[in-house]
């Protein structure tokens, strides 16, 4: 793994995103960015009378929120803001209509057509656009029923037979030219490309020493440094073993130094694929294709565009799809390259007046806020405003009878009353450590008195007070009693 360059955002650490996955992470990262700039953040259990955003087939709890400044509010579902109309969402949800529209407006798309499953016309059409081709079900999803790299009429017939056998439900298919080249996800906001990511299948790189098994283990270990990839290890399953077999290898084989071995066909990140940041790897011409694609769809100010770049001419590319509610987390947590601030660009777009404003480093307890929305026990939850002034910090070490006498909870209550954030934890049998932060330096005098005084049954012998500098690390809102 030597030589891998990776640069993650230091205000989105592991603690900040702990336990937040999938589309919730998209919503959370956009919400957090707005909130950190001082916008009012409200989470909703469901759509409201004010905003009926297209749900894109999913639930809303923990993914539907609004951000408000003094004079305006914007609603968001996952990464999609209310600048994207439901009409645009519906259009992008239908690949065929999208591609038709793009084609009409001169945006390059793969050549293709819809055919009835038994229509013999398709063989002629395949020859006219030239092999290799792809077939896939009309309105399919998740890559199900997709047959790629079909090289001849015979192969096409085989693929069709297999398709008819396995996917009886679909009566129509799309036949499309198979473009060779790397596929990129390009995230566009306004008229700017913010992030480009190339997702590649699960893979390992040999070092001439270690076995395949060991290399996979090491790769999974390294993925743990990336909060987004940590819960998505490469699992050694049938597909992986098959890939090894096809390469004449097994789990104990030693891979030569520098050799990259792909362990799967598909580039799903969830099964161990790698998101590789590629902002500087695609040409300006291809970037312009992505920007043009958004312009063609009415009311689509930001979205993710899937593009295949021609392997022979990097100025050429075709648009496969536009994702109006795109996942954005992999732009924030690449395996290789630099994290690209998609949430920042989205907030810049909706709240241009907040650009360059001082940002808080705090984060809120997403899970406990979402819980009553998940059970529908509350309608809306407004997050406490982020502290945005300069923070002061003190660390206190308290000696005495301060455990199991209600001291720690007492300190927590006292801290919360005074808007002091931080933690308290046990430190040996007769000692507790308090890490306290506040925007109001004067409040500490009072708080220190409270720490001396203690709860009813406690006895404080000694308090050591240290001034600490605020490190540039995120901190959690509220005051937490940390347990081992």
């Amino acid at each position: 793994m030597a030589g891998r360059n990776v640069e993650l955002k230091d205000n989105l650490t592991e603690e900040v995103v702990e336990g937040i996955k999938g589309f919730k992470l998209c919503a959370y990262s956009v919400a957090l960015e707005g909130w950190r700039r001082g916008l009012k953040l409200t989470w909703y259990k469901d759509e409201t009378d004010l905003c009926k955003m297209h749900r894109a087939g999913g639930s809303t709890q923990g993914k539907f929120f609004s951000l408000s400044s003094e004079d305006k509010s914007h609603y968001f579902l996952r990464s999609r803001g209310d600048g994207v109309t439901n009409k645009a969402v519906n259009l992008c949800g239908n690949k065929e209509s999208t591609l038709k529209l793009l084609k009409k407006q001169g945006v390059p798309t793969p050549e293709g057509n819809i055919f009835d499953i038994d229509d013999d016309q398709m063989f002629k059409y395949a020859e006219s656009i030239g092999f290799p081709v792809i077939i896939k079900p009309l309105n399919g999803s998740m890559g199900r029923g997709v047959y790629t790299n079909i090289n001849s009429i015979e192969a096409l017939k085989d693929a069709l037979d297999d398709f008819k056998d396995k996917y009886k439900r679909y009566k129509s298919i799309i036949l499309e030219k198979h473009h060779h080249g790397q596929e990129y996800r390009v995230y566009v906001v306004g008229e700017k490309v913010v992030a480009v990511t190339n997702r590649i299948p699960a893979n390992i790189t040999g070092d001439g020493v270690q076995s395949v098994r060991k290399l996979i283990e090491e790769k999974n270990e390294a993925r743990k440094d990336n909060p987004y990839l940590a819960p998505k290890p490469i699992k050694i399953d049938y597909e992986v073993k098959l890939a090894l077999k096809n390469n004449g290898l097994d789990m104990d084989s030693i891979l030569p130094e520098g050799q990259v071995l792909y362990l799967r066909e598909k580039s799903n990140l969830s099964s161990g694929g790698d998101p590789i940041e590629a902002n500087d790897k695609i040409s300006e011409e291809v970037k312009q294709i992505a920007i043009d694609a958004l312009k063609v769809v009415p009311s689509l100010p930001h979205a993710g565009v899937d593009i295949i770049v021609d392997s022979e001419d990097n100025r050429k590319g075709v648009v496969l799809e536009i994702n109006a509610t795109a996942e954005i987390s992999f732009h924030l947590f690449p395996w290789e390259g630099k994290a690209r601030d998609v949430p920042g660009a989205i907030i810049d777009y909706y709240f241009p007046e907040s650009v360059g404003k001082r940002k808080s480093l705090a984060y809120f307890d997403y899970h406990s806020i979402i819980e009553p929305l998940k059970t529908w026990a509350s309608e809306e939850v407004v997050v406490a405003p982020a502290p945005r002034k300069e923070m002061h910090r003190k660390c206190l070490t308290v000696n005495g009878k301060v455990q199991k006498v209600g001291y720690m909870n007492y300190i927590r209550r006292q801290a919360l009353k005074r808007n002091i954030h931080g933690t308290i934890r046990k430190d040996g049998p007769k000692q507790v450590k308090i890490d306290a932060m506040s925007t109001d330096e004067k409040i500490f005098d009072e708080f220190i008195d409270v720490c001396y005084k203690g709860s009813k049954k406690s006895r404080v012998d000694h308090v050591k007070i240290e001034d600490k500098k605020m490190a540039y690390t995120p901190y959690k809102m509220g005051f937490v009693v940390e347990t081992e």
């Binding site: 809120f364 529908w376 026990a377 509350s378 309608e379 406490a384 009353k417 809102m477 509220g478």
Partner: protein, 565 residues
């Protein structure tokens, strides 16, 4: 916090409000009780309720404020006080001196008095002799819970002692001198010119049963108090004052008072030190009520007011001590004696006339709300608004192939789609219990989808429809481990439609039996303790010198007895 009814206390005092009997979770008491009772009433009327945290810099306290709205009018509440009571009205009533000016201008009777900050004791005594009539009372200007109050001071000499005690010994330099009014003190709740409730607070007390000792009676009373939301967490502590009062009856803690004999354990009647709230609405004289109304009206915009007054036993006239905003409603809602007074309903009728309670079968998790607001992470929480229609409840026990086929998720999705409250629970016998509450239309739609259109992989063999007797928490929850089977089964099992009256009786009997059981267990434990104590005493006694010294004597007497025989 749980949907499970076991955390909600079932109260069976017939004098209490039916719609609150089962709706107060065990974690709610004190200030929270007033807020919760009002918010619950509003929410059950289909009004929009929103809670938000407010950090009071002055009091170093996190206060939970809330707004209630019907879409056109929004009323902001602090504790039990709505926004028709202006800040000015609150300011006046929180200052005794200012209050008295208003009372005086309207001719409302109150005990004469004066506040002293820096005058010497002699100067105060001189003032008292010239301006006040003995007997008088001395109290600290910033006192709490009756501390430092010296009552019934009859002459100059006693006043001198009292001043020395309060100012020098206790250190309350600012004192108030007031005429002492002998008589009962009442708290009268006035809303918009009408007396809704009168409360008398009785000092901590127990009533003898002819069997148990005072120690035991106090213990029983404290256990009882834990069950009553208004006095929960406010037990009678056996301290020097309690012991002194018991001594005044010529009793000790081990004495057994006669059946029906009431023993007052304290002089002061604060609920916090074990006093009892007793409803007195019906015994209050009409003239006294008039004084209370007049007192509340004397301050502009004081539409909600708790008037503290003493009914002078010499002339029967009510004399106003204090006007309060942010009145605690617990005592009115859950008195230890007498009827509940439904102030939350009256408040909603006043602020939102025309609204009516839609349901009594649902409550919301207020403890969770307060926890979240106090965590420093949440600024505001809005409860879901109930539909303006009658709400019905149904339960379904479903059997068939329901595991690992997405059945529970299907139920959850549909329940949420139809805006139903309740829960779905997988039980150890592999059946699934579904309980829903919502409008008739939505419950029926849900039932139709459940019976006719379950997901493909699900096979339902049997659905038993039933009535759900318990109260439900707002929201719809999935319970993966069958907690019901661990908890009290009679509350948890869906009961097929049977005669309700009979069922209620059975439930009551069961609850009573359980209570008796708890009591018996307690008595048993106490007896065991007592036996252990006696054994130890006996051992100590046998080990004692005098017992050992007299051993030969005892042996001798035994021999003598034998000889006689």
């Amino acid at each position: 916090m749980k949907k499970i009814v076991k955390d909600v206390i079932f109260l069976n005092n017939d004098e209490w409000l039916d719609h609150l009997k089962d709706s107060i979770p065990a974690t709610i008491s004190g200030d929270k009780l007033s807020i919760y009772a009002i918010a619950l009433e509003a929410w059950r009327r289909g009004l929009k309720v929103s809670f938000y945290e407010f950090k009071s810099k002055f009091r170093k306290k996190i206060i939970i404020n809330y707004t209630i709205s019907d879409g056109t009018r929004e009323v902001k509440f602090t504790y039990s006080t709505g926004s028709d009571v202006t800040g000015r009205a609150k300011g006046i009533s929180s200052s005794k001196t200012r209050t008295k000016k208003y009372l005086e201008s309207e001719g409302v009777p109150f005990p004469k008095g004066q506040k002293f900050t820096s005058k010497s004791n002699d100067e105060i005594i001189e003032y008292a002799e010239n301006h006040l009539d003995f007997p008088i009372v001395v109290k600290p200007a910033s006192g709490k819970m009756g501390r430092g109050v010296v009552a019934n001071i009859r002459n100059k000499e006693e006043l001198k002692n009292a001043l020395e005690y309060v100012r020098e010994r206790l250190g309350f330099n600012e004192v108030i001198l007031e005429e002492f009014i002998p008589g009962e003190e009442y708290r009268i709740y006035v809303l918009n010119g009408e007396v809704l409730a009168g409360l008398n607070r009785m000092p901590a007390n127990v009533v003898g049963d002819g069997v148990n000792s005072l120690r035991k009676l106090i213990k029983i009373k404290n256990a009882e108090r834990e069950q009553i939301p208004s006095v929960r967490g406010r037990s009678i502590k056996i301290d020097s004052e309690v012991k002194r009062n018991i001594k005044d009856y010529d009793y000790t803690l081990d004495s057994v008072p006669q059946k029906g004999e009431k023993i007052l354990l304290r002089k002061n009647s604060n609920l916090s030190t074990g006093g009892d709230p007793v409803d007195a609405t019906e015994i209050l004289d009409g003239k006294v009520k008039e004084v209370a109304v007049k007192a509340a009206k004397s301050v502009p915009d004081l539409v909600e007011c708790g008037v503290d007054l003493i009914v002078d036993e010499r002339d029967g006239i009510g004399k106003v001590i204090e006007l309060n905003t942010s009145v605690g409603l617990g005592g009115h809602l859950f008195p230890l004696e007498g009827k509940s007074r439904d102030i939350p309903s009256a408040l909603m009728d006043y602020y939102f006339p025309g609204t009516e309670r839609i349901t009594t079968d649902l409550y919301f998790d207020f403890t969770k709300v307060t926890e979240m607001l106090k965590s420093g992470n949440v600024h505001e929480i809005i409860l879901p608004v109930l539909p303006q229609e009658k709400i019905i409840k149904k339960s379904f026990i479903t059997k068939g192939k329901l595991e690992k086929v997405g059945f529970v998720n299907f139920v959850r999705k549909k329940a949420r789609y139809f805006n139903l409250n309740g829960f779905v629970e997988m039980r150890s016998d592999k059946s699934v219990l579904i309980v829903v509450a919502g409008t008739e239309r939505s419950v029926n739609n849900f039932q139709e989808i459940l019976t006719k259109y379950p997901p493909k992989r699900v096979r339902i063999d049997n659905i038993t429809e039933g009535k759900w007797q318990g109260i439900l928490e707002a929201g719809f929850e999935v319970i993966r481990t069958a907690k019901s089977e661990k908890a009290e089964p009679e509350q948890r099992v869906a009961i097929p439609v049977v005669d309700d009256g009979h069922l209620q009786k059975l439930k009551k009997t069961n609850t009573n039996l359980k209570k008796t059981n708890v009591d018996l267990n307690k008595t048993n434990k106490d007896l065991e303790k007592e036996i252990a104590r006696l054994k130890k005493e006996n051992e100590n006694f046998q080990r004692s010198k005098s017992w050992q010294v007299t051993r030969p004597l005892r042996l001798l007497s035994k021999k003598m007895v034998k000889r006689k025989n």
